[in-house]
Every structure is written in C-alpha cells, then in structure tokens.
C-alpha cells in the first residue's frame, strides 16, 4: 500500500531525440487540484483503447514501466503518504516524471494577504495550505514532460469565463507558451470538457513511446494540440454534415438534421468527437443530437454563448448554401426515386426477360 519513489538522479536529457537513451521507468505525477471538477480523471477511467489498468499493469508493449500517482485512483490513504512522490520530485529525488495538470490555474497575485484559491496539501513547515501555483513553480522546471489534461488546464475553460472572480487561466498562459520541459518538449495540450477518454490515452501513450526512445515527439499544432486529433473540425466528421450541404436544417431538437440553426458551432470547432464517438464509438455531440458548444476551444465558453442560439457566422453561410442545397436535394430526390425501383425482368412469369444469352459476344 506504499507509493514507491525511486531516488535516481534525473539525467539531463540531450536536446536531440535520436541521441537519447530510452527511459525504462517513468512516473506520472497527476495534479487535479487546479480549478477542476476532476472530470478529466474520471474520463480517463472510461478509456478502453487502451485502458488505464492496461497501462499501469504494463500490458502495452514497448512502453517504460509507469508509476501513476493520481489522487482519485491512489490506493494510498492520503496525506503525506500520498504526497511523498510529489515531495521527492520537488527535492529532485524522483526519476523522470511526466507532470499532468488538471484544472484552471488561478491567479494568486490578485489576492491580498494570506488567502488561496486552491491548494494541494500543506506546507510541512508552517502547516498552511500549499497553493497549486507553488507546486507548478516547483515541478514544471524538473518535469521530463508536461501534459495539460482538459480545457481548463489547456486554456482556462469554464472557470475563466467573463465575470470570474479568480483570474484563472490555462497552464501555458501561466508557464508561458514557449515553455519547454527537461526533454525539450512544449506543454502537450489535450483539450476537451472533459477530455475524450481515448484522445487523452492515445496522446499520453505517444509521449511514453517517445520516452522509451521509439517515437519522435507527438506532432502538435500552434495551440500545442495533437495535430491528428484536432486538425479537423467537428463538421468535417459529423454524420449530419450532409444535411447542411443540402441546406436541410433542424429548427428544434426533435430533428435528426443539421443543428447549426439551433446553436451548433461544429463547422468552426477543432475536435474529432463526432467521428470517434465518446467511448467505444458510442455517443458524441451533434451526431447524436447535442449541439457543439466548442468545449475544446481556446475561446470556450464565452465565444460560443448563448449556446442555444444560432452562431452569427452560420446565418450567412447557410444562406449561401440554400439555393445550391435546395436544387441538389430535389435532384437527389428524383434519382433516389428512380433507384428505388427494381428492374422489369424480376418476375414470376413463364418467360425469362433478363436478356440472358449464353452465346453472347461483343
């Protein structure tokens, strides 16, 4: 029931990945004490491709041995027993570790006096709550890699909406967008409110392959998101997209058609959920009747509110598509009617009329 903490020195990683020796054991220090709902940790447990227990039990070939430290899943009873590996990492006594941050990062600088917005354990000297910000300041410079899990940690998310009292932000806003880890990696941002379980696991596994020395760093876009997951829009993967092309829009939520008139932001949001589903291919958003509210985006939530109103931009684009869509839809209707008929030679009469001719030559 104890948490193992290795005491090997962190070897300084060379800049170039091809010179790197593979890492054979790595710690994942997960801190969900940002301003979070712990929904990203909970989402992680929904992943089945691969699952968290597969990772922890070493069932994925070619990865380093992984020691996961996460408050929600920890067998530890808590307190200092649970905090031991974090403390060791602060002292520089924990082998290479990946720091995962969940939740928005509050602005402690706006507090006058001794208050705090969110804390993680206590300062052993004073007994006062130890702020999340202190932990990040201590751990980020020593981390082999840093991963931001969920939209709160990546861009600030819900808690950073207009009118918020805490001045919170995303991890890259806090550490700087040019931050690099011990391994020379930028912050790896996996947005989503919460993370789509398999999107996150796949990204984490890529980082671990990189740690093992068998893969280059994961390819990220300018907002530090994995390109292969966030390179397309919701609309490009949505099975209601064809209704849009035919200018066939739902006017309320009873309809299986395109939801853009009832608040869906899919055409301009980077996310693969309609394509991938939510878990095991099931669920999603506009594909199953839920408007896209842009929860993976840096502009979330303010840019997309009020959620249930038509996005201003879609008024024009849907107007443009209307004449084309109306014509196409009718033409397809005609053709559809034609191909809904069987050919004439399928009958039960006494004469074969299929055009059968065994001696046919061109």
């Amino acid at each position: 029931m104890t948490t193992h903490s290795s005491t090997t020195e962190v070897s300084k990683e060379p800049e170039r990945s091809e010179d790197r020796q593979g890492i054979d054991e790595i710690h994942i220090l997960w801190i969900s004490e940002g301003m979070s709902c712990d929904g990203d940790t909970v989402s992680l447990t929904a992943a089945d491709q691969p699952s968290i227990e597969d990772l922890v039990l070493g069932l994925i070939p070619g990865l380093p041995k992984v020691n996961l430290v996460n408050k929600v899943l920890s067998p530890s009873l808590g307190g200092e027993d649970f905090l031991a590996p974090y403390r060791a990492a602060v002292r520089g006594e924990l082998g290479p570790f990946i720091l995962v941050i969940e939740g928005s990062i509050p602005n402690q600088n706006i507090i006058e006096g001794d208050g705090y917005w969110t804390s993680f354990g206590n300062d052993p000297e004073t007994g006062e709550p130890q702020t999340l910000n202190w932990w990040i300041d201590q751990l980020a410079p020593k981390a082999w890699a840093v991963v931001a899990a969920g939209t709160c940690a990546t861009f600030g998310g819900i808690h950073a909406m207009s009118g918020n009292p805490t001045g919170c932000m995303g991890l890259a806003d806090y550490l700087g967008w040019d931050y690099t880890s011990q391994a020379g990696l930028p912050i790896v941002n996996v947005p989503g409110c919460p993370i789509q379980p398999e999107n996150f696991m796949e990204t984490l596994i890529w980082v671990l392959y990189h740690a093992a020395g068998s893969a280059p760093p994961p390819p990220l876009d300018h907002m530090l998101r994995p390109q292969w997951l966030f390179g397309k829009t919701v609309h490009e993967g949505c099975d209601r997209g064809s209704y849009y092309e035919q200018a066939n829009f739902a006017t309320d939520y009873n309809s299986p058609k395109c939801l853009v008139k009832t608040g869906c932001w899919g055409p301009v949001v980077n996310c693969n959920v309609p394509k991938r589903g939510w878990m095991a291919g099931i669920g999603g958003c506009p594909n199953v009747g839920g408007i896209c509210i842009g929860c993976t985006m840096p502009g979330f939530p303010d840019a997309f509110m009020p959620f249930m109103d038509e996005p201003p931009g879609s008024t024009l684009s849907s107007l443009v598509v209307k004449p084309y869509g109306a014509v196409i839809r009718r033409l397809r209707g005609v053709t559809n009617e034609l191909v809904n008929h069987e050919p004439r030679w399928r009958h039960n009469k006494h004469k074969l009329t299929s055009g059968y001719d065994p001696h046919w030559r061109p």
Partner: protein, 597 residues
C-alpha cells in the same frame, strides 16, 4: 441539539494526538480532515473538515443567458455533472413554464439510472472498497484478516467466493478480480449513459425543454442489451457487500459506532414520473410525491415531510466558518414563493456569494464550503442534514413513504423490494433493503450496491415504457418555449451522492441569481454560526478507533472509511496524514460531539 449524542465510556486520562489527512485520496475533489485523536481511550475527540478550492460558479453565471445554465453547471462536478444539468433543466422548466414531452423524461431517467449504476460501481468497488480490501485490512487489522480467512462467506453460492478473505482479495487495487471487473462494468454503464445523454460526464443532448437524443429503436436496444450484460454483476455486488459488512459487525463488536450519527437524512427525490410532472411550483408537492425515488426528510427515524415545497422553504445557507462575506444586508431577490409563502434571506434564492480568500484558522474560518442547514419549524433547529452518501437517504425516504409501487420496485413502509430479471448465470432475484438500526459508516456503504440494483430495476421499467411510446409513434422529445423577462425556478433532484437543488432567478431574460446546492456542501460543511458541526465532522467526532496500529504507524482507516462512506465529491480533496502525529502539549477537555454553541 442537532448533532449526535455523546456515548458514555469508562474514561482513562486522555492521550491526545493531532492527526490530519490532506488531501484525502479516492474521492472527487479537495478535502482535508483534521482531527484530534485520544489514543488512551481509542476515539476521535475533534474533527474539522475543510475544502481548499473556490471556483465561483454562482459569481460568473450572473448576467448570462439562463438557457446556458445546464451546460455551465455540469462543469461543477466531474463525476455527476449530468445530475447538475438535469437539475438545472428542472429549474429552468419551472421558470419557463415548459413541460418536456414524456419520452424526453424517460430518456433523462434512463441516462440518470445509468449514471447511478456507473458512479456507485466505480466509487464503491474501486475507491471505497480499497479500505476493506485484503491489503488494507492486513495493514490495519491483521487479526481481522486472520479471522476472515477462517470465515466462510454465507452468500458464496451467489458471488462464488468461499471465504470473506477471498472477497477482500478480489478488491485489491489494480490486481483483484472484482476491482478489475468493476472498472469494465463502469465502462459498459457509461456507454449506456452516452446512448441517452451523448457524452460523459458533461452531457451533450440535454436541453431545457427536453432532449436532442434521437429516439430510434436502436438506442433502446443498445441500452437494454448492455443493461442485461451487467445485471448479474449487480446481484453479486449486493451479496459480496452484505457478506463483508455483516462480517465486520461480527469481527469487531461495536463497529456500528464508527461514523454513527443521529438519523438526520435528506433526500430530494429522483426520476420524474413523465405522466404527472408539469414543473409548476404550485403543484410541486403532488408531482414530487410521484417521483420514483421519494423525497423526504427523516429525523430520528421519523418522516418529517416529503413535500418539496416544505423542503424548499426550509433551506437555509449559513456561514460561520467559511471564507465568504455575509449577504443578509443585501436586498432580497425573492420575498415570496409562487404560493405566497415568505422566503427567508438565507434561502439560496436570496444568496449573494462574495468570496474572501484568507488564512485558514480552525478556530474561525477554515473552508470554502458554506453550511447548508434545514430549518425545522417544529423545534426551531437548523438541522445539519446529511445524505447518507446518497443511497441511504434515498432508500430510507422511499421505504418510509411507501409510495413507490412499480413492476420492479416496491416500497413497503419499512423496506424497499427490488426485483431483477434472470441474467447470464443467476436466476430472477428479489432483493430487500430494510431500514437499518443506525445511520453509520457501514450502512451508508451497504446501501450503495442496493441502490445500483434499484437504478437497474427502474431502468427496466423506463425502457419498457419508452419503447412502447416509440412503437406507438410518440417520438417527440423537445418542447419549444420563450424565455420570460422575469421568473424564478427551482429544481430538486438526487445527485449520485445525495440531495441536489438548483435555485434560479431571471430578470431581463438574464440570470440575476443562480445557486446550486449539491450534496457535498451538506455533508462536508464546516461548523455553522451556531457552532453546529457539519455531518463529516459530527460523524467522525466521538467515533471509536478499531485500527490495531498505535500513533506511530497509525493509518486512520476507520476515519477514512467514515469520510468515504459519504461519497465525498468536493471538486476539492482530502488527504491523509500517516507520518507521526504531533502530540499536543496542552490537553483540552474535549467536547464529545456536542454543540459548541
């Protein structure tokens, strides 16, 4: 006197040690538990519960479009966010005067049933039960483990384990058979959830006015086939839990005192009856009683009320130990409810949240959680109700009211009978949950698997009715409406871990005030202005210690079992201190769970 009575014992001179657990693991959120333990008399003499996170939902929602509330408030909680969306939609439907079509209610009920099944399973088997697993019992009560190895499991023919220790082994984290199976089951039940509500944990297809879920037969077929796949797991879980908990009472006489508090339970009701709910406040008493989990407040085993209007009007949000400014001198938003009853200034409708971050001081202000209380008009007490972790209060309230009478679930006045159909390996089974003698740690935990069975049984009824409607062509799932200029609304629901209410005030088509009251503020609240401790504090304070370790290698497992039995979900965490405790030089004469006020 709204807290638990002291328990008389033969006292030795106290040997007090400060012990704290911060953060607490295997819960959702940030919780810290700070105690003084008397090792001479083996009991906890003082307990403070603190939460170290503030995010400010009720602050930043002001001025926003009220229809956004369901989407935003889901983000309050990462394990039961959908309960918030559902509750918010209930409150909005009252404010907009809209009643969703019956099929939409079925779809929401099916989604919520899957959530209860998922959440209780992962919490009980992967988080709570680690405290009862072989590795933990070996480290804290080796004598008990030795006895468990010799004790035959009475319900072995159902769950397949020969001894109690075999069951405990099956729950060892990441290695035990049941631990691993529970993770898989929690995924199947989440797939069921996603079929109805789109995504977990923040649903995509729930709207005020109904749902966007396409009610094709396939959705229900996919749900039902998954439900039947886990039905035997549910039956086995109840049997395993009963075996282990009965054994604990037997192996550790007096264990019923662990986490025991006076019976002060609240339940706000769940699963609307699609035929009768109209969301009008004026009729709330009547449609509230038609819910398939009956709302109710239980004091000392008596049902005080199951009328949602009374429940609503009795809500009081107290300060005292929380980092906020008081609002009693602000102007009220709501002076009277739609029935003309006066609304108190401390009611959530009138609350203003003004955060004041400050130093933590256990003699003054020490938590970001406020202190919700229920005003008992009969006595003038402000009751620190708890939810019993959710299932205990739900089953107790439903059983006592005796109103639920469905094909699969029947409330009898003293028990709840739950029938589950034949599964892959086990026959049709009727389970009976009986009102227990105590409101304590073991009974809170025991109720949980029974409520999983309850949710599964209700899901069967909802799916039969929903498929009947689909086959009859009644497939409307959304009702349109206009947002009024001015309105008030309240929603009552059961989050997985207990009571949940949302209180909404609309002015100029915008949110003027919005206060959600989830279960954890009730359970984890600090001492209020009268000095009344919150339920965690009250349940831990005065509880005996059964762990065999002394102060030097003390783990505090009995205390952690108590805290976890409430299913803490703070989006804010509790950790446990297992170093050497700090022995107190000054010995206070402790007040044994008594009123400090």
């Amino acid at each position: 006197m709204t807290t638990t009575e002291a328990r008389p014992t033969d006292r030795k001179p106290p040997q007090l040690v400060d012990m704290s657990w911060d953060p607490i693991t295997r819960i959702i959120g940030n919780l810290g538990i700070y105690t003084k333990i008397d090792f001479a008399n083996r009991e906890v003499v003082e307990c403070h519960s603190t939460s170290s996170l503030f995010r400010g939902y009720s602050v930043f929602m002001k001025g926003k479009d009220p229809r956004d509330a369901g989407f935003i408030t889901s983000r309050i909680c990462g394990i039961c966010g959908d309960n918030h969306t559902t509750c918010s939609d209930y409150a909005q439907q009252m404010a907009y005067g809209v009643k969703p079509p019956p099929l939409a209610e079925h779809i929401v009920n099916l989604g919520e049933a899957a959530e209860y099944m998922f959440d209780h399973t992962i919490f009980q088997d992967n988080l709570v039960f680690v405290d009862f697993c072989e590795a933990m019992v070996k480290a804290t009560n080796p004598g008990v483990l030795a006895r468990a190895e010799r004790t035959e499991a009475p319900r072995g023919e159902i769950h397949g384990y020969r001894t109690i220790a075999d069951i405990m082994k099956a729950f060892n984290p990441f290695e035990g058979e049941v631990y691993k199976e529970a993770l898989k089951v929690s995924r199947v039940t989440r797939e069921m959830f996603c079929l109805m509500e789109g995504r977990h944990v923040h649903p995509s297809t729930l709207y005020p006015g109904g749902v966007g879920t396409m009610p094709q037969p396939t959705v229900f077929t996919d749900y039902l086939s998954r439900l039947m796949r886990v039905i035997d797991f549910v039956k086995k879980a109840v049997a395993m839990n009963d075996d282990v908990f009965d054994f604990f009472y037997e192996a550790l006489p007096g264990y019923e005192e662990v986490g025991r508090r006076r019976v002060l339970l609240g339940c706000w009701g769940a699963f609307q009856n699609p035929q009768t709910v109209d969301y009008r406040y004026e009729n709330m008493n009547s449609w509230g009683k038609d819910m398939y989990v009956t709302p109710g407040i239980i004091v000392d085993g008596e049902l005080v009320t199951n009328n949602l209007v009374d429940i609503n009007l009795g809500l009081r949000i107290m300060l005292g130990s929380s980092y906020y400014e008081d609002w009693v001198n602000e102007s009220p938003f709501v002076t009277h409810d739609p029935l003309g009853n006066p609304v108190d200034m401390r009611h959530p409708w009138n609350q203003t949240t003004v955060p004041v971050p400050q130093k933590r001081n256990f003699d003054d202000k020490y938590s970001w959680v406020m202190s919700p209380r229920w005003f008992d008009q009969r006595t003038g007490d402000h009751l620190a109700l708890d939810t019993g972790g959710g299932p205990l209060a739900r089953l107790w309230s439903t059983a006592l009211s005796g109103l639920v009478d469905t094909p699969y679930v029947k409330a009898t006045g003293h028990s709840v009978r739950i029938s589950l159909p034949k599964g892959e390996s086990l026959p049709e089974t009727t389970l009976e949950w009986r009102i227990p003698q105590w409101s304590n740690t073991i009974e809170r935990d025991r109720a949980r698997p029974y409520f999983i069975a309850y949710a599964a049984a209700m899901a069967l009824q909802f799916i039969e009715e929903a498929m009947g409607m689909v086959r009859a062509g009644e497939t409307k799932v959304f009702e349109n409406y206009e947002v009024p200029d001015e309105a008030i609304g309240c929603g009552f629901h059961e989050a997985v871990r207990g009571v949940l209410s949302h209180h909404l005030v609309i002015k100029d088509k915008k949110i003027a005030n919005y206060h959600p009251y989830p279960p954890t503020p009730w359970n984890a609240s600090p001492r209020d202005m009268y000095g009344t401790p919150g339920p965690y504090e009250d349940a831990v304070q005065g509880q005996p210690i059964f762990e065999e370790n002394g102060p030097d290698d003390f783990k505090g497992v009995d205390i952690m079992r108590t805290v976890r039995s409430f299913d803490p979900c703070l989006p804010c965490g509790v950790h446990m201190y297992v170093g050497k405790g700090k022995t107190l030089t000054t010995l206070h004469s402790p007040t044994y769970g008594a009123n400090h006020g």
